[in-house]
């Protein structure tokens, strides 16, 4: 393992752990402001997390080690994504590629862990949440991979760092139809993967409309803390990835103190912009019926496919 990559990875992990709860706080705050409320403040997720970690953890009869190990796996998968995805800088490890297929697989590992926690609870709601989440995850996968395929054609590699680096060197490529279509498709996929509106309502209290909440209904104390932190990390990392692809400026392409500082600052700015925009957009949309979600995902799939086609049609035209 090379030293610069290791330094960058640790910086990314530390920054994301610190920032992703704040990102969630920011999104809730944005929503509160638009609804005319004051809001709980940026650091509220951190307060919640601190409390969960020190609270008692219950495990119901019939639940096994899955319920205990699942939340930790979710967090680890979130942290691994933060290592693999170019957020602060695009300097990959030589032996572990930041290949998007690997990233998706690690992401799915977290999804599976959450799902098994939901199933292990042995309640109707847990199973319901798992089933829905899995259905959505299964249908999102084609969109993600085809969008990546579209992004990888101009670069000739599915390694994220290479895609991002190409964008840093030639920012005009961001505005090409290929990249825009693929990014829109990817954005819908990210929304579905992270359980935001209109696919899932993160603030719902109605069991029958839940997806993510239903799976974690049975978790308490630090289990809940890990699960929530994991989902925040995942949200942060995926939004950060969209940010790196959409606004490639500021990404460190070499590891120096200065470039890392710029990279961290740029990451915070990008997350603020994207998180704020996402939260503001969420105020205006209602949750889709579960059986309308496949339509949305098919739409994003069609966009991803168009991006691939467009890359054949139009790339050499330029």
């Amino acid at each position: 393992m090379s030293l610069p990559a290791a330094v960058l990875a640790s910086v990314q992990v530390l920054v994301m752990v610190a920032v992703s709860p704040l990102l969630v706080g920011l999104m809730r705050q944005t929503r509160a402001c638009l609804e005319g409320r004051v809001g709980a403040g940026l650091v509220q997720p951190w307060r919640d997390l601190r409390k969960w970690m020190s609270k008692e953890t219950l495990s119901a009869l019939g639940t096994g080690w899955t319920s205990a190990a699942g939340p930790v796996i979710v967090v680890v998968s979130g942290l691994l994504i933060c290592v693999l995805v170019p957020l602060v800088g695009a300097v990959p490890f030589p032996s572990v590629p930041d290949d998007l297929f690997v990233v998706v697989a690690v992401l799915l590992l977290g999804t599976v862990a959450t799902d098994l926690v939901g199933l292990d609870a042995g309640t109707a709601f847990g199973g319901m949440g798992s089933s829905r989440q899995m259905t959505i995850a299964a249908l999102v996968e084609p969109t993600v991979l085809v969008a990546v395929y579209a992004l990888s054609i101009p670069v000739g590699s599915s390694a994220l760092s290479r895609i991002v680096r190409a964008r840093v060197e030639d920012p005009s490529s961001v505005a090409s139809p290929v990249s825009l279509l693929a990014l829109v498709a990817l954005a819908i996929a990210v929304i579905a993967e992270t359980g935001r509106l209109p696919v899932d309502n993160p603030t719902t209290h109605l069991e029958l409309t839940m997806v993510h909440e239903a799976m974690v209904l049975e978790s308490s104390g630090r289990d809940l803390g890990w699960l929530e932190l994991g989902s925040w990390l995942r949200l942060g990392a995926l939004l950060g990835l969209l940010g790196s692809l959409l606004i490639p400026w500021g990404i460190a392409t070499e590891v120096t103190v200065g470039s890392l500082a710029v990279g961290v600052a740029a990451l915070v700015v990008k997350l603020t912009l994207l998180g704020g925009a996402l939260a503001a957009a969420e105020v205006f949309v209602a949750k889709l019926r579960l059986f309308r979600v496949p339509e949305l995902l098919a739409g994003s799939f069609a966009l991803a496919f168009l991006a691939v086609t467009a890359s054949y049609l139009l790339v050499q035209a330029g």
Binding site: A32, G36, R37, V38, G39, R47, D48, K55, E56, L217
Partner: protein, 162 residues
């Protein structure tokens, strides 16, 4: 509502929330862990729905209990406090006990409204098992029939200390 009207409403309405009243003194024996973040599980043990409307208002935009760190949650496993409204009817006796038992320590029980505090007008009525205090250990009481949202928010602030 069309998008344009919604945006205009947001711009004209601005901040709806009332200014925060002064911080009340902390509730005796409140667990320090719950300072700043209090997740509330609401149990309607047999209310006339008057208190529900007030609880809803307390978490609405005007009183905005969320700014003090309180939030309603969907499961007692996630909660730190059970908020009981209404007299405890016989059918809700066991579910109420179970809800409190299902909540991880440290936990609190808030009785909101006269019925939950002391059975109110339903004292001795048929099907009534008692007040919340007769069934579970109540830590904080909010009297009133129904209590004002401000009073509910104040009780929550006595726990969160914000």
């Amino acid at each position: 509502m069309s998008l344009r009207r919604l945006v205009r409403l947001m711009l004209t309405a601005g901040r709806i929330a009332d200014a925060a009243p002064p911080l009340p003194e902390a509730a005796p024996g409140r667990p320090p862990l719950l300072a700043g973040s209090l997740h509330v599980r609401h149990v309607d043990a047999g209310s006339c729905n008057g208190c529900e409307i007030e609880v809803g208002a307390a978490f609405g935009p005007v009183y905005d209990a969320e700014r003090y760190g309180a939030r309603l949650v969907a499961s007692p496993r996630h909660g730190d406090a059970v908020l009981v409204t209404g007299v405890v009817t016989r059918n809700m006796l066991e579910p109420l006990r179970r809800t409190v038992a299902a909540m991880p320590e440290p936990r609190m029980v808030l009785a909101v409204g006269d019925c939950a505090c002391s059975c109110g007008v339903f004292r001795g009525a048929i099907g009534v098992a008692g007040a919340a205090g007769d069934v579970v250990d109540v830590d904080l009481e909010v009297p009133g029939c129904p209590p004002e949202p401000g009073a509910i928010v104040e009780a929550l602030r006595r726990v969160t200390g914000r």
